[in-house]
Symmetry: C2
Subunit: 415 residues, 2 copies
């Protein structure tokens, strides 16, 4: 079943807000077996909204529209739909009473702009009765159109809880089975990965995509087929070939993150990690603690941004800083051993570098980074020379630190 997605809002066509809802809808619709023909982003113009919606209904089997459903004055979607599809808006009484109950609970104002949310195009069915959220379904020309709010977390929950089940019902029996796996890699360039995979001569029915997601490269294998069993075997064989060929360059699959995978390895090895960050300013800790349950293996650490913090909180000697500079192999080592000693962690990682745009010298240009790692038995410092802007250097430094831990733990697991 083919669909199109339409996102509405001047904030999107002026580029001020990144459109994350269309991608979210596309991802979940795709994995549920639907094909997305095209996605459109258009401004708050009622005539253009109507035009694009009518054209999409003619082309495909269903349409998902996001944005422009709110209570503020720039929310024009319902008005545009009413006009384009000739369905005047009428109040949904159940919705209206919910909104009034909600308002009674928080304020005394008799008429609120929120009541606008209860006026829907004739024939529309509300997807939710929650007073702060809008969303409805309209069957037009015997095809379902779903209207969802543009606010990502609202849109996302309605898509998962309302749109996907309704579409599955509608679509009954017309599925293609979709197999897709994303291999997430770190530490090899896209062109090199492409060369290795081309040499595998995988079955031509398997679609392969290469996506640099700085500083990672993601590789997708996709197979769509009406024959589930045969396709499953073919797909699994292709995935195994890719895994064998890329080896440890693959850190994970699908929803995995480098921090999550590194955390799982730490937990499996029953090791506790501490961090000492200078140029990344807390980003390694932030990546680690985005993962629920990270308290099982991450103790915390020190953000030693100023030299005074390197001395007072990590015990780095002033003479070392004076002799070698804060960005040096020696200071990286002292930071790593300092945090391990003070936190009593099993393994500690340290980073010190020049993230820029200022602070570079001829000897240590912007992008110079030292990453130290220490355990009970060994201590090593790795120098790196990254390129990019400040944010990119911080991100590649933080992820390289996580990847060093990951590769160390994989190595340990094998010996």
């Amino acid at each position: 079943m083919l669909g199109e997605i339409i996102a509405i809002g001047n904030e999107l066509t002026s580029g001020r807000i990144a459109n994350t809802t269309s991608g979210f809808a596309a991802r979940h619709l795709f994995t549920a077996g639907y094909e997305i023909h095209a996605m459109h982003t258009i401004g708050d113009s009622p005539s253009l909204i109507g035009e694009v919606l009518k054209a999409a209904i003619n082309r495909v089997d269903f349409v998902v529209v996001t944005g422009g459903l709110g209570a503020t004055d720039d929310d024009l979607t319902t008005e545009a739909v009413a006009c384009a599809l000739d369905r005047p808006t009428i109040p949904n009484l159940e919705l209206l009473s919910q909104i009034r109950n909600h308002l009674d609970a928080i304020s005394a104002s008799p008429v609120s702009p929120l009541e606008k949310l209860a006026w829907l195009p004739q024939g529309a069915e509300a997807l939710t009765l929650q007073a702060r959220m809008s969303g409805y379904q309209l069957i037009h020309a015997n095809k379902p159109i779903f209207f969802l709010p543009g606010v990502p977390y609202q849109m996302e929950s309605l898509l998962l809880e309302q749109v996907l089940p309704r579409l599955a019902h509608w679509n009954h029996g017309r599925h293609l089975v979709t197999f897709q796996r994303i291999f997430k890699t770190f530490g090899m360039e896209e062109a090199a990965i492409n060369r290795l995979i081309v040499n595998l001569n995988l079955d031509h029915s398997i679609n392969i995509g290469y996506y640099p997601v700085f500083p990672e490269v993601h590789v997708s294998l996709t197979l769509r087929s009406p024959m589930a069993t045969k396709a499953a075997a073919l797909f699994e064989a292709a995935c195994r070939s890719v895994e064998v060929t890329l080896g440890d360059v693959i850190y994970g699959q699908d929803q995995d993150s480098l921090a999550g995978v590194t955390g799982r390895l730490l937990k499996a090895a029953n090791l506790r990690l501490a961090t000492a960050e200078s140029c990344t300013g807390g980003m390694i800790g932030h990546l680690l603690t985005q993962v629920a349950g990270s308290s099982h293996y991450y103790l915390g650490g020190v953000i030693a941004y100023a030299n005074s913090m390197k001395m007072s909180s990590l015990g780095v000697e002033e003479t070392l800083l004076a002799a070698y500079g804060a960005v040096s192999r020696e200071v990286a080592e002292a930071m790593a051993t300092g945090i391990r000693h003070r936190s009593k962690a099993d393994i500690a990682i340290s980073v010190t570098g020049v993230a820029g745009p200022d602070g570079g010298t001829i000897a240590k240009p912007v992008g110079t980074v030292f990453i130290g790692m220490t355990t009970e038995n060994e201590t090593a410092v790795h120098p790196f020379y990254f390129s990019g802007n400040r944010q990119q250097i911080q991100e590649i430094t933080a992820k390289t630190a996580l990847d060093l831990i990951r590769r160390y733990l994989l190595q340990q697991g094998r010996t």
Copy 2:
């Protein structure tokens, strides 16, 4: 002058990669005075690429196409263009020689897939001769079409350095003057802001947009006019009304970030900050150090994720943790005074809370957060009860901490 943007790639229509390039292009084209009629995202299908491109050229004055120009096998844009616009590809010899020089420097392989980048549709002009980057301009039906790589940092530099100057030349003398200002707010709900601004009765030529960007709300004022001087006065008057009405709820404008604004205030007051983070795990430090020059006012801090770190690195007493729990007013206070004492900072902030999804109790459910702030003269702890998922609670906690510092410094500046 009207334009459309077309982004190409199965990774986008399957929702696996967020399309950031279209938004970047839209933002910069919009501020340069062009209107974006629509943005389309389509898969790696040569026939659909051709169809959408031809339709766009008929509707508008220029088109920007991103993606599908690389050397891997799923890059089909040039092929599709050659076919749709009847312009067979021919090798660009200058580009070809650059690519060969580059390859000679890094490898000995005689023929590389990278050479594909040198084959352009007849009549196309290369935008860059850098060997690892593709991009070209094609004038078709007397309208410029710009083809840019889909990799964000490559696309972004070509758009700024090549597309905007070429369009300005093309467009000479047909500009509308665009005034736009984004007010970034923290701490007031979208509907409340909308109500306050509606009451101002601003001139109807001024377009107002409201955008919740969790956990902030951004408000845009836009005015487009051929009459620069008159419009400028009207626009500035409207902006002043909004500023007066929203007051300190506005933390900044346009490219400002909460961390950047808080940093500027710290620098102006000549105060140095330190942080002690538990549930945010380094995010406050990360936000602060994303800003270039943050070493002028941010010393660093401790990520005290485990209780052992709260004791060893911040001096929190074990009896305090036992009596009140890690998530408590008392521990937040001890963390703040501990980091200020140890770092010798002028001002210190601490956060401790339950980010979830686990760890909540009836007395302290997920979302319970204590934020402590201390200076030489005073210490205060603020309790919060946030809702949302783990990432949202971490983000609203980190930004609330920054906002508390900002409001404190504004207050100090006035007395």
